[in-house]
């Protein structure tokens, strides 16, 4: 098996499906000749031509609108939005059209668009290059929302997304493109080669959308999280020397309630963590669902660790980012509470 970082794994996913299915096309800003500002599409235009890897005008609404039309004509478009912070100009096409075409035409028409977009902070990008807007997509019926936390899942989930007849918004936590990150920016960067999930098959495989993964088993607390914070959670548990069960949600919608609820019922305690702003975020849905299904097993209230309810401030990103300390403090609170 090969070693890949997340960028390579994502590129490999597109390569594999493009090779397999001539209807798969890629479009987005700077994705063609240049290969994308994060290099995720590097080499694809040379390999598959300018008509399948298309440099688009700078209009996210146009990219998604045109991708929908391509999908209606039998292609499988993979649209890159350069930063998740810039997905909003395409929001109407996603919510009003992409998500609803199948429903309103009773399945006669549909458009299997996958939207890839890098999200999250920790790269000194300031508030317009750091957002995690997944919570506004999970509320929209008709689309699926996915966020991988490692190269293996990234490739498998992306192939599944592209092959899915349902539209998928695929968030890529850019902070972990090059290596897992435990939340401490002072430590030397760690490459994916050091991580078991940096081993990625060269060829075709899928990771099914709709399944959470128990990253590590444990009995004292369930930490339910996704994206970059999966790594912070495991690091925090290790640092504290506790027996935590860490769950990577991966597929935010559809949500694998069973895996999550089974864990929380077992441990009786639950911390939910994400990088996005807390108020009205996706963590609220997780908490609402889990308090309902695990009420009689809970020994403490479900807590959330999340980005503060402010824009992502450039200079204070490490005070904003829910890092090791906040994770530890969150775990402590949940553990300390006695029912």
């Amino acid at each position: 098996m090969a070693q890949m970082n997340m960028i390579e794994a994502i590129r490999s996913a597109m390569d594999v499906v493009m090779d397999k299915d001539p209807n798969v096309v890629v479009l987005g800003e700077d994705v063609g000749y240049f290969g994308g500002v994060f290099r995720c599409t590097d080499g694809l235009q040379r390999k598959y031509g300018e008509h399948r890897v298309i440099d688009a005008p700078i209009a996210e609404g146009g990219i998604i609108g045109a991708a929908i039309g391509m999908g209606l004509n039998g292609l499988r478009p993979v649209a890159e939005i350069q930063f998740a912070d810039y997905i909003y100009p395409g929001f109407d096409q996603i919510v009003s059209e992409l998500a609803k075409i199948r429903y309103r035409s009773c399945g006669e028409f549909f458009s299997p668009v996958t939207i890839r977009t890098p999200c999250g902070g920790g790269i000194r990008g300031g508030q317009t290059h750091s957002q995690s807007p997944e919570g506004i997509f999970t509320h929209v019926s008709g689309i699926k929302t996915v966020m991988p936390s490692n190269p293996y899942d990234a490739k498998g989930l992306l192939i599944a997304a592209i092959e899915s007849d349902d539209p998928v918004v695929f968030f890529e936590p850019k902070r972990i493109y090059n290596g897992p990150f435990d939340g401490d920016p002072e430590k030397p960067a760690v490459p994916w080669t050091s991580h078991p999930k940096g081993e990625v098959p060269e060829g075709y495989y899928t990771v099914p959308i709709g399944e959470a993964e128990v990253v590590q088993q444990g009995s004292e607390i369930s930490i339910v999280t996704y994206g970059t914070l999966v790594h912070v959670a495991t690091a925090a548990a290790e640092k504290m020397g506790i027996d935590a069960e860490v769950i990577d949600v991966r597929s935010l919608s559809p949500l694998d309630v069973t895996t999550l609820a089974d864990s929380v019922k077992k441990t009786g305690r639950c911390l939910i963590a994400h990088e996005a702003t807390r108020f009205g975020g996706y963590g609220a849905e997780l908490a609402a669902t889990l308090q309902k299904s695990c009420f009689y097993h809970l020994e403490a209230p479900i807590a959330r660790v999340a980005g503060w309810d402010t824009p992502y401030p450039h200079a204070f990103e490490w005070q904003y980012f829910p890092g090791l300390k906040r994770m530890v403090a969150g775990i402590e609170r949940v553990l300390e509470t006695t029912a």
Partner: protein, 419 residues
């Protein structure tokens, strides 16, 4: 203190109580506009956006280089479809007024656009219509009963009760599903056309929206992408002078015609008499031919008039002169084609009256049949649990639980129970 404001406010020439005044319209005489070859350089096509391509003159004669010289039989067929469109609309409007469907929108006065373009396009070309293009569905062969059942949300509704009346879709006829959101279909048409070009096929796409809708972002996105990739697409702006209560000036039509909107991107525009079936047919054939030969997109502005209300929810007498449509200088598309055929000796008042009766009967019969599949007030009803279908191809489990819960709650007292 006098109002110091220097903001320009576009104002229609006439409001309720005023005399209708269409002096603002630039009209060219029929036959006066050149017909360039489809291979002409874009810059040599600019004049088409300023003039008004017309074929039928005031004496109902077909004139000039754009005359498509259609057989009388074809024209009779066109007349029939326009009439059917109108008769259908009139009946559905009445049905809504009787409270038997929740909503309706008619194409009154604009029927030539859908019918002429339906005829000019090939069946493999894909249409992305607006809500005033029911004529396209009709022309492409959608069954009247099916259309009515959609409006009734009944057991045979193609939309399974999910959509407001008139939001048809017709995959086998290559007509897309209508959206309630204005202009969103425009970039779809461009993307579809791009895919056609990518695949090396020679199908083209066409889309329609109103004068008011040109202000939306999707109009700009569609034009930009169409120009950049020279997509084989026809982008139609149906300028019926009104967007609910605001006139076309509020959308920026005061200074230059909508046909000129793409010029800055190198997209040629044609301004056509939208109530002249021959002219609309001719410019569409021209634009389609150009697109098929790799010439790229064309924008067509149809100069027409919304003779009816915006929708059954609207009362236009609140914002424009009551009989403004009678003063519309480009007449009525059905009358004009009828008079042309009569003048040419291929039609008569009698035949016309008879056809109208036939069409009314056809529509009436369809309505009778449609009602058997259910109405808003009487069964049979669609199974409400179908509302959980088709949200996804591969649905999340929660939709199944919700379906069960819904049935638990609502099937206690049957379908008619609404509480």
């Amino acid at each position: 203190m006098a109002n110091p404001s220097r903001l320009h406010i576009p104002r229609p020439t006439a409001r309720p109580g005023d005399e209708p005044d269409f002096s603002y319209l630039d009209l060219s005489p029929a036959g006066s506009i050149d017909r360039p070859s489809v291979g002409a350089r874009t810059r040599d096509l600019e004049f088409l956006s300023a003039g008004l391509v017309r074929v039928l003159d005031d004496d109902h004669e077909a004139k000039g280089p754009w005359n498509p010289d259609l057989d009388p039989e074809k024209l009779q067929i066109a007349l029939r479809w326009m009439m059917l469109n109108r008769v259908f609309d009139q009946r559905m409007w009445q049905i809504q007024r009787q409270g038997r469907i929740s909503f309706y929108m008619e194409a009154f006065g604009e029927e030539a656009v859908s019918i002429a373009q339906g005829m000019a396009l090939r069946s493999g070309d894909m249409c992305f219509p607006s809500y005033r293009n029911q004529g396209l569905y009709l022309y492409r062969g959608m069954n009247l009963v099916d259309m009515m059942c959609q409006c009734l949300s009944n057991t045979r509704d193609m939309c399974k009760g999910r959509q407001l009346p008139i939001m048809y879709h017709f995959k086998s006829g290559n007509v897309f599903s209508i959206s309630g959101n204005l202009a969103t279909q425009y970039p779809h048409a461009v993307g579809w056309a791009m895919a056609s070009a990518i695949k090396g096929e020679d199908h083209i796409a066409a889309s329609w929206l109103g004068d008011g809708s040109t202000a939306e972002a999707d109009f700009h996105h569609a034009l930009t992408f169409a120009a950049v990739y020279q997509a084989p697409v026809i982008l139609n702006v149906v300028n019926n002078q009104w967007a609910i209560s605001t006139f076309q000036g509020t959308a920026g039509g005061e200074r230059r015609p909508f046909a000129a909107r793409g010029l800055g991107l190198g997209i040629p525009g044609i301004r056509v008499d939208g109530n002249d079936l021959l002219a609309v047919y001719a410019v569409t054939v021209w634009a389609a031919d150009r697109a098929r030969r790799g010439g790229g997109p064309t924008l067509i502005e149809h100069v027409t008039y919304r003779a009816g209300a915006h929708s059954t929810s609207d009362d236009p007498s609140k914002y424009r002169p009551k009989d403004e449509h009678l003063a519309w200088p480009l007449g009525d598309p059905i009358d004009r084609l009828k008079e042309h055929l009569i003048k040419e000796g291929h039609w008569s008042e009698k035949k016309h009256a008879k056809l109208e009766e036939e069409l009314k009967a056809e529509v009436m019969a369809a309505w009778k049949e449609a009602q058997q599949y259910g109405t808003m007030t009487e069964g049979p009803w669609l199974d409400p649990s179908t509302m959980f279908d088709d949200v996804y191809a591969d649905p999340p489990q929660r939709l199944e639980s919700q379906r069960r819960r819904m049935l638990e709650i609502h099937q206690q007292n049957g379908n008619g129970d609404h509480s």
